[in-house]
């Protein structure tokens, strides 16, 4: 059971057609650039926009004919949209009270959720006095309050300060993994989609261009958008600071050198991403300033127009994007030995804190 949606929705003259299947306990990331139709999909799922065609089923029951307030959907909005004249506690209790739960029961449940998701927030505070990260935690608690069967997370990190993101990300992951129903995460940051979701579907100009596991999409992106945004190299591991301010990121299958913006604690968990276009390939050991030079065998060369993606079995494995011209000039073929290099500063890092909880390897490796 879970979500099965297959519909067309129109807003003004813009049309979005999608098929979404999300099993209970799983997270689907809907990833696309601005204007791709992501918010149209959200509004169709919540019911604030009527479908033009098709159906939405949740646990085998059609919900697309129900008004928004009768759908068992919980939503965490992009701009949090906490109600400004209600206290934090009343905001979280809102979905329960709207469904006629008794006041004291609703407040008790809201207090419990806030204690779990936003322990540092004063429940009597008005939303205006909270930071972006705190507001989004409260919004997450509000989304879960009425025990929905479908959880929509609409770009939950977009208005949150960079420093508050790692904690919020960890919380969203915990919430999504612990949530019993189907979760749909709307994202335009590929890293969020790739690290938090079991499946990713790409939305471009109102159409789904590719759906699959993060691994499948990264390995074989079907459009140039997918290649640009999703085809990033991802590494998870443990950081070990070096004396010159850089750090070594030890992954399960190798190590790379990265350049954290601030000093990092020894043993911090981190997720790192590297764009394929920042990886250079060489036939001989390169001399230069790049701190990462790895040797490996080419696993695959995929030419797409005037560009080519080259997968190299280095440790860790890398994908490089080069021009089709250089593939021809260098004579790159699967099985060739090459050197791959990239600068430490090209690697963008998400430090996940220093707790003992390992990042769920399954989320990335799937």
């Amino acid at each position: 059971m879970g979500l099965h949606a297959d519909f067309v929705a129109r807003r003004d003259r813009f049309e979005v057609a999608v098929t979404l299947d999300v099993a209970d306990g799983e997270t689907l990331a809907l990833l696309g650039p601005n204007g791709a139709g992501k918010s149209t999909v959200v509004d169709a799922l919540t019911g604030t926009l009527e479908l033009a065609e098709g159906t939405i089923e949740l646990d085998g029951e059609r919900i697309d004919l129900l008004p928004p307030e009768q759908r068992p959907v919980g939503i965490c909005f992009q701009d949090d949209l906490l109600f400004p004249r209600l206290s934090t506690l009343e905001n979280v209790a809102f979905p329960l009270r709207a469904r006629r739960t008794e006041k004291s029961t609703a407040r008790a449940r809201a207090a419990e959720l806030l204690e779990r998701l936003a322990p540092d927030v004063d429940s009597s505070a008005m939303p205006g006095s909270l930071s972006g990260g705190e507001r989004q935690r409260v919004a997450l608690a509000r989304a879960l309050a009425a025990e929905p069967r479908l959880l929509l997370l609409d770009e939950p990190f977009s208005n949150v300060d960079v420093s508050a993101r790692p904690g919020l990300r960890a919380l969203v992951r915990e919430v999504a993994l612990g949530f019993g129903g189907a979760t749909v995460l709307i994202a335009h940051d590929p890293l969020d989609a790739l690290t938090l979701a079991h499946y990713v579907t790409l939305l471009e100009e109102g159409r789904q261009t590719q759906t699959g596991t993060p691994e499948q999409i990264r390995a074989a992106p079907r459009s140039s958008y997918a290649a640009d945004l999703v085809g990033v190299n991802l590494f998870t591991g443990v950081l070990e600071p070096l004396e010159d301010g850089a750090a070594t990121l030890r992954t399960a299958d190798g190590q790379i050198t990265v350049a954290p913006e601030a000093t990092v604690a020894h043993g911090s968990q981190a997720i790192a991403s590297l764009k394929p276009i920042d990886v250079s390939l060489h036939m001989t050991e390169p001399e230069g300033s790049a701190r990462n030079v790895l040797r490996g065998t080419i696993a695959e060369v995929a030419v797409d127009g005037d560009r080519a993606r080259v997968r190299v079995d280095t440790r860790p494995p890398l994908t490089a994007e080069v021009t089709a011209g250089s593939v021809a000039r260098m004579g790159l073929r699967a099985g060739d030995e090459v050197w791959a290099s990239f600068k430490a500063v090209e690697v963008s890092l998400q430090i996940e804190g220093n707790d003992d909880e390992a990042p769920p390897a399954g989320t990335l490796g799937r």
Binding site: L81, A98, R99
Partner: protein, 269 residues
């Protein structure tokens, strides 16, 4: 910038002509008030007030203005809501008609009310002959005339408030399980608080000073339709001293309204 500068620094940057014109403006407004205070025959206070029926006019003014304010809110807020949110045809025409009493001379409004609701009027005839209800020359006539001029102010304040509220809050409330009614009660009305307060106070202030529509439609009957402004008008020739005292009562009431408005708005923030 203003907060970082001292008032002296700001004053020195204000051009002199501005000071002069502002001064003339302030004096022009203040002068009639000073005139009332100076010309009032304070020694005859008691006799003057009882002679012009001040007590009944005062009571009537309070009752009429408050009831008209309540009616204006009761009908004006939903009207503003429909104008701001509902998909209605000819919205701008409807809005223009609803707001018309703000620009219309109140006497014209009174004539219109007579034509519609007077004993021989389009609807008034039916009210009188069918139900025995007569509005003219009754307190209800004064209330109807006052509501006619006050309600548009509530509509204007509420509608502009509604337009400034991001409609995504209403959609969010719906997506989180709120019926439209519940969303209005728990989310939108609280956000609208300051504008509702401003609308109510403006309507009350307007109701308190209402003259033209009331005297035309409801008449000028002491104890029934003669509110303070009407009493002032009647006393101005026969008892100038009494007229001045009645005017001062209105001044005090109006100042009270303005102070109340300040408090309401600062409390709401």
């Amino acid at each position: 910038m203003g907060s970082s500068r001292s008032p002296d620094a700001v004053r020195s940057r204000t051009p002199l002509p501005l000071w002069l014109l502002a001064g003339v403006g302030a004096v022009f407004i203040a002068l009639p008030l000073v005139g009332l205070l100076i010309r009032a025959p304070w020694t005859e206070l008691g006799a003057a007030l009882s002679g012009v029926g001040a007590a009944s006019a005062f009571r009537l003014s309070i009752v009429v203005s408050l009831v008209a304010t309540v009616l204006s809110m009761l009908l004006g807020v939903p009207l503003a809501w429909i104008l701001a949110r509902a998909p209605i045809p000819g919205r701008s025409v409807v809005r223009a008609i609803v707001v018309l009493p703000v620009v219309l001379p109140p006497v014209v409004g009174g004539i219109g009310l007579l034509a519609a609701l007077g004993r021989g009027g389009v609807m008034g005839r039916w009210l009188y002959e069918g139900l025995g209800i007569q509005l003219t020359f009754t307190i209800w006539g004064a209330i109807a005339a006052t509501t006619f001029v006050s309600m548009p102010l509530v509509v204007l304040a509420t509608e502009s408030g509604l337009r400034s509220i991001d409609q995504r809050y209403e959609r969010a409330a719906a997506a989180l399980g709120a019926s439209p009614r519940y969303a209005i009660r728990r989310v939108v009305l609280p956000m609208l608080g300051p504008q509702l307060a401003a609308g109510a106070v403006l309507a009350w202030a307007r109701a308190l000073g209402e003259f033209g529509a009331t005297i035309t439609f409801a008449g000028n009957l002491e104890g029934r339709t003669q509110t303070l402004p009407l009493a002032v008008y009647e006393a101005r020739l026969t008892d100038p001293g009494g007229a001045i005292f009645l005017s001062l009562i209105l001044v005090v009431l109006s100042v009270g309204v303005l102070v109340a408005m300040r408090d309401r708005i600062t409390q709401a923030r």
